[in-house]
């Protein structure tokens, strides 16, 4: 078995069945449809797609399952779905709809054993622990200097991000999706010290998220933090860069990535 290539993961925020935040693609009229956008990003060389369900209502959640179902029919790369997953039954519903992995965030903070139950049912490889972390002065209670926030980054917890990542993996998560609240949307580059600390603390793949403003940011985050994957959203959606530009940049930085052309 040869080494794992670094992944470029494209994230789409979905609300009531539509992609929110503008997505601009030349020649694609219906830019709000998650199904066609996911397929479009696959064709451009994305290694994986994440749908983040930002709907607040249960009606929105049902719509999301339908979106996942329709996406799974046309998408032939892995699909991760996060947002609003609270129980093992929720995990099962999302997987049965066609997702390959389910990201759990606030529900795991409220009930860490959920990770264990979900992994026992479906395997660690489909359980992703999603962590939103914010930098603070380090204290004995917060040795890493990164605090975990729940509820979409709105609610502070007592958890230290690095310790929580290690615990979540010990409980059953097979991957960590790590978002820097400070960097998210800033386009200043990824929070490399946070990412590196978590990469060093766990033995499962880590996906770095938050802060991509240019292809160079993605390449340097992967190189300097050792993360397996980087999540990219806004700069792709508004056409600032492309998946293949990011991969070329990563390749130039000496990283092994799947060729964006190898899509036959």
């Amino acid at each position: 078995m040869s080494a794992t290539l670094r992944r470029i993961v494209v994230c789409l925020d979905v609300d009531k069945g539509r992609v929110v935040k503008g997505v601009r693609f030349e020649g694609l009229r219906d830019v709000g449809d998650p199904v066609s956008l996911a397929a479009r990003y696959e064709a451009e060389g994305a290694d994986e797609i994440v749908f983040l369900d930002v709907s607040a209502s249960s009606e929105g959640r049902d719509t999301m399952l339908d979106v996942v179902r329709r996406t799974a029919e046309v998408l032939f790369i892995p699909l991760t779905v996060g947002g609003g997953v609270r129980t093992v039954e929720d995990v099962g519903r999302v997987l049965r709809a066609g997702a390959d992995k389910v990201a759990i965030n606030s529900a795991a903070i409220a009930d860490p054993a959920l990770l264990t139950r979900a992994a026992a049912c479906y395997g660690a490889q489909c359980i992703v622990l999603s962590i939103d972390a914010k930098r603070e002065p380090a204290t004995p209670e917060l040795p890493s200097g990164y605090r975990v926030f729940s509820h979409g980054g709105r609610r502070a917890t007592d958890l230290c991000a690095v310790a929580w990542a290690a615990r979540g993996v010990a409980l059953g998560a097979g991957e960590v999706l790590l978002t820097s609240i400070d960097r998210d949307g800033s386009r200043d580059g990824y929070e490399i010290p946070l990412t590196r600390a978590v990469v060093d603390a766990v033995r499962v793949p880590v996906v770095a998220s938050g802060g991509a403003g240019a292809a160079e940011h993605v390449a340097s985050a992967l190189r300097e933090s050792g993360a397996d994957a980087a999540l990219v959203a806004g700069i792709l959606h508004d056409g600032r860069t492309t998946v293949s530009s990011i991969k070329m940049e990563a390749h130039r930085a000496g990283l092994s990535v799947r060729s964006a052309q190898d899509t036959r």
Partner: protein
């Protein structure tokens, strides 16, 4: 071409069914929960999500019939866990595999497990002339070994195995984009034609 996808109880078969249909024109997929009934219909596909023990248990009432059918030439493709079920047994849990391939499934010893993501695929010189993609998608913590793990002195995880019309794939061709679908189509063509 008729393809019977055996429902081993866990995971989503819908997208795999769509991938099989997209991989080759004229493929019709039936999802079958009864392993005994899968024996008599077209290409049998053992899907790739879940754990060894519950899948082996699900398979057990039809295990001998299915194993005999495969030895007699019934085409079969096992993906990921489905490939592991073609071997004899697994460290992941109790239960018997189909034993089409001699060997055991053992835990990966790599720095990061699960092995989750894309890895380059290097087919051996003697491999069939299938359209091998440069990279394929894996999601597994266990891997098949052709000999006892205690004898292993170098990495021997197997990516693709074939005996007659039975093929096992540790990676997920159905998640390996268009290159994966092309390979899937070629395998179906070869074993199912």
């Amino acid at each position: 071409m008729r393809v019977t996808l055996l429902d081993l109880g866990v995971g989503n078969l819908h997208s795999l069914a769509k991938a099989l249909e997209a991989a080759r024109a004229g493929v019709t997929v039936t999802i079958e929960t009864d392993a005994a009934r899968a024996v008599s219909a077209g290409v049998v596909v053992l899907p790739g999500v879940g754990a060894f023990a519950p899948a082996a248990e699900r398979l057990s009432p039809a295990r001998e019939a299915l194993a005999r059918a495969l030895v007699d030439g019934r085409p079969c493709l096992g993906i990921c866990l489905g490939m592991q079920l073609l071997f004899e047994s697994s460290d992941e849990g109790p239960g018997d595999g189909l034993g089409i391939f001699a060997g055991r499934v053992t835990k990966l010893a790599t720095a990061r497990t699960p092995h989750m993501g894309w890895s380059p695929l290097a087919a051996s010189a003697s491999a069939p002339a299938w359209p091998w993609p440069d990279a394929v998608y894996y999601a597994h913590s266990y891997a098949c070994r052709a000999i006892e793990a205690t004898d292993v002195v170098a990495t021997t995880e197997l990516d693709v195995v074939r005996r007659g019309n039975t093929v096992g794939c540790q990676f997920h061709p159905e998640k390996s984009s268009r290159g994966g679908l092309a390979l899937l189509g070629a395998i179906l063509e070869e074993i199912g034609a």
